[in-house]
């Protein structure tokens, strides 16, 4: 009964979504307030029914209902309960349901907070979100019903969850990533609504900014969770593989980052309006495109589990409708959005333009590298692959250029900056950064690596220019109070900006150190064997066999000693064989540290108790993810800025207690 309830709820949600995409829009053109207000309730109703449907699927998993084909394919009665829960979004159908749940959730959030917007705008935003929902709900109902039953002969037990996915990463990575992906639907809806209304002012930009930044925070965290998960789960010690699916999430992130910065210009200066709209459309289109790449089966990857051409065609058609319609609307309406405001060549606007160009170009670079093999294959010109060197050779210099531009942009004023002032501000910083970068690469290792010197110079440049700017901004306040107190006087969004940029610096350090100075050895080890790697000695103490809940595991014991023979850590890398699928899995043993990770993975047994073993020393690899946490926190701080809540305070009659609390932040 339960699966039918889920399906029924999903159908009801679809009906509500159809109404939501039509009624408020109609109301906004005919000036009927009740029709416009209906959007709110429809969005809420849609969320409730999608949630109900999702819960039904979760219940089907928790109760081992193997009559449901999706459950039978992705679960097993031996699977621990937490993974039964996460198996809900482990396959194609369920992950789409999670997608639509997230979308309905964002729609619900918009409907709760849209009271302060002009009714036409909020009605149109909700309508557009409804249309996006309709497409995805139909996609689920027509091609990917998660509640389809296997009757009359259901299997005795399920085929089990892919062992790679039986991990804590599975709990957080997909939902957080989807929050980011789908969150850009909100700014997309705002952009379409602005195009429909033909009006875009700085108030619009102010409404959109927190939504964009929030989605961006989630996407940042989601990508970095995925990177961290791949790092410890795949057993290769890499943190980014330029896998097409990773690229699919990186592209909206790059476009979204550009959008955030372009929105800042639109809000503060009323410039870049059509560009902002285009970026909003592009960001969400790239999110959809990512979904298409992953779900259509054109790619082969860890994530690609659905190779059903019908599904691919549906998403492709949907993508074309969304992108085509929004670009057509853009072409018709954008020329009205022009602004007559000028700015000088040396101004923050110009540097943010440089930022946008670099981000757009890097996004295009990734797109080219990802799509080129598919294009060549589609044209029947042979099968090729584009290797990581392509991406590294192009992406890394772009990031470094971005860092350079960032330092200048931070210090420049809006509208018109002064060259002599800038020169005065940065001459020492530039010198220190350049010397610092070279000195670092000279003294850190025997080998001088040019790219490491450049990366460290850019990091110093980023940090020092930010520090300089903060000192300048607090100059007057510091005479009256302590530095910390004067920091608190600065707007939250300003501090958030610096925090996020500091995060970028940390991520660059992590990426540069890891790719430049990592040590790795693959070798054959018998019990008692030792091997040196840098200043660490690894001793292999043999392997014991154990029984897990749904797997048999060989646990290796590797003791790591420093050069005085003092033990640092005992690592227990595992080689598991999952019983149901008979699938082997590597679980790496990691001793994490801020300055280095010691990482060991077991290969295969080679007879006589000896094993193939992989040893890594990864300097500062944690900074990659720490940096992304800083970025997300910076974004969060910016979202909480009081500036975005001014309208709430004026409007005290409507103030709800929860929101009033939010206004205090």
């Amino acid at each position: 009964m339960n699966p039918e309830l889920g399906l029924f709820a999903l159908i009801l949600a679809t009906c509500l979504a159809i109404l939501q995409s039509v009624a408020p829009l109609f109301g906004s053109y005919s000036g009927r307030l009740p029709w416009m207000a209906a959007g709110k309730w429809l969005a809420a109703g849609q969320f409730v029914f999608v949630l109900l449907s999702f819960i039904c699927l979760v219940v089907a998993f928790l109760t081992d209902d193997f009559t449901v084909s999706y459950v039978a394919n992705n679960s097993n009665s031996l699977l621990p309960d937490i993974y039964k829960l996460t198996a809900t979004w482990a396959g194609h159908e369920g992950s789409l349901l999670l997608w639509i749940l997230t979308l309905a959730g964002w729609g619900m959030m918009v409907s709760v907070r849209c009271d302060k917007l002009p009714p036409e705008l909020s009605a149109r935003v909700l309508s557009v979100l409804g249309m996006v929902s309709v497409g995805f709900l139909l996609f689920i109902l027509v091609t990917s019903n998660p509640f389809a039953r296997i009757l009359p002969f259901p299997p005795q037990d399920g085929a089990d969850l892919n062992p790679l996915l039986q991990d804590v990463g599975m709990i957080f990575h997909p939902p957080v990533l989807y929050m980011g992906y789908v969150g850009f639907a909100v700014v997309f809806a705002f952009a379409i609504a602005a195009l429909l209304g033909g009006q875009l002012d700085s108030a619009w930009a102010r409404w959109v900014r927190p939504w964009t930044t929030a989605a961006w925070c989630f996407l940042t965290l989601g990508i970095s969770l995925g990177s961290w998960w791949a790092y410890y789960e795949l057993g290769w010690g890499g943190w980014w593989f330029w896998d097409p699916v990773e690229n699919a999430s990186l592209m909206p992130w790059l476009a979204g980052t550009a959008l955030m910065h372009s929105l800042a210009v639109t809000e503060k200066r009323g410039l870049f309006k059509s560009w902002t709209l285009l970026l909003a459309i592009a960001t969400f289109s790239l999110s959809l495109f990512g979904t298409f790449l992953v779900r259509s089966g054109v790619l082969t990857s860890v994530h690609a589990f659905a190779s059903d051409p019908e599904r691919g065609m549906f998403i492709l058609a949907y993508l074309m409708v969304v992108v085509g319609a929004s670009l057509a609307l853009f072409a018709v309406r954008a020329p009205q959005m022009g602004s007559r405001i000028t700015f000088s060549l040396l101004s923050r606007e110009t540097l943010l333009l440089v930022n946008n160009i670099l981000l757009a170009v890097s996004c295009a670079t990734v797109l080219l590298g990802t799509m080129f093999p598919l294009l060549v294959d589609a044209l029947d010109l042979g099968m090729i692959s584009v290797g990581p060197p392509y991406f590294n050779a192009l992406f890394v210099p772009q990031v470094l250029l971005l860092g350079l531009a960032l330092g200048i942009g931070i210090l420049l004023n809006w509208k018109s900056g002064s060259f002599s002032k800038l020169l005065h501000q940065v001459r020492w910083i530039a010198l220190v950064s350049a010397l610092g970068g070279v000195a670092f690469a000279l003294f850190y290792a025997e080998r001088f690596i040019v790219s490491e010197a450049l990366a460290m110079a850019v990091v110093l440049w980023l940090v020092l220019t930010a520090g300089r700017d903060i000192l300048d901004k607090t100059r007057n306040a510091r005479q009256k109070m302590s530095f910390m107190a004067s920091l608190q006087k600065l707007p939250a969004s300003y501090l958030g900006m610096h925090l996020a940029h500091l995060g970028l610096a940390l991520t660059i350090i992590g990426a540069a150190m890891t790719s430049g100075y990592s040590l790795q050895r693959d070798l054959r080890m018998s019990p008692g064997d030792t091997a040196w790697l840098g200043q660490y000695q690894f001793r292999f103490d043999g392997v014991t066999q154990m029984q897990g809940p749904n797997y048999v595991t060989n646990i290796g014991i590797i003791t790591i000693l420093d050069d005085q023979q003092q033990p640092i850590a005992v690592l227990q890398p595992e080689k598991r064989v999952y019983s149901v699928r008979g699938m082997p899995m590597t679980e790496a043993g990691i001793d994490p540290g801020l300055t280095r990770d010691l990482y060991v993975a077991l290969g295969e047994p080679l007879g006589d108790d000896s094993w193939a073993v992989r040893l890594h020393v990864k300097p500062y690899v944690r900074l990659i993810w720490l940096g992304s946490i800083f970025m997300a926190l910076g974004g969060l701080l910016a979202v909480c800025d009081k500036r975005y809540r001014i309208r709430l305070k004026k409007n005290k009659t409507n103030l709800k207690p929860g929101i009033a609390l939010g206004g205090q932040v």
């Binding site: 670079t365 692959s385 392509y390 054959r524």
Partner: protein
């Protein structure tokens, strides 16, 4: 020319130069880093270049795997459509590497037309067949 126009022109020129440079670099980097795929048949027949970085794939021939007792070097044969090619690889084999399983590797052909792989991939699902291998199998099947 008035200053606003001159500025705009400068900006546009800057933009064009940047985009041009980026495109050139991108295409150059792309050209350098494309790895073409060759089937075992193409590797033995001489169609595949020697000494260039290529990709190749096939089914691991059961019983062909041999380990070097001193280090992690393995040799095995992979085949599609009955043509076999010898593969040499040093390192840890992927989790799902098994005889009879489809694999894809990146590496170079040596003079004896052995495929010296420096990277081997067997994907993350036991039913997975690399599309290149599937394609080669289909072609060999249709030809016979």
């Amino acid at each position: 020319m008035n200053p606003v126009r001159r500025q705009r022109l400068l900006l546009i020129l800057l933009l064009l130069a940047g985009v041009g440079l980026a495109t050139t670099l991108a295409l150059f980097a792309l050209k350098e880093n494309i790895n073409h795929y060759f089937s075992p048949n193409q590797m033995t027949s001489g169609e595949a270049p020697i000494g260039q970085r290529i990709r190749g794939g096939g089914i691991v021939v059961p019983g062909s795997l041999e380990r070097n007792p001193d280090d992690l070097t393995v040799t095995f044969k992979m085949e599609t459509g009955g043509t076999e090619v010898e593969v040499v690889y040093t390192g840890i084999l992927p989790d799902l590497f098994r005889e009879g399983q489809g694999i894809v590797g990146t590496g170079k052909l040596d003079k004896n037309r052995r495929f010296i792989a420096d990277e081997l991939l067997a994907k993350h699902d036991e039913n997975y067949m690399p599309p290149e291998v599937q394609d080669a199998i289909d072609k060999a099947h249709n030809a016979s």
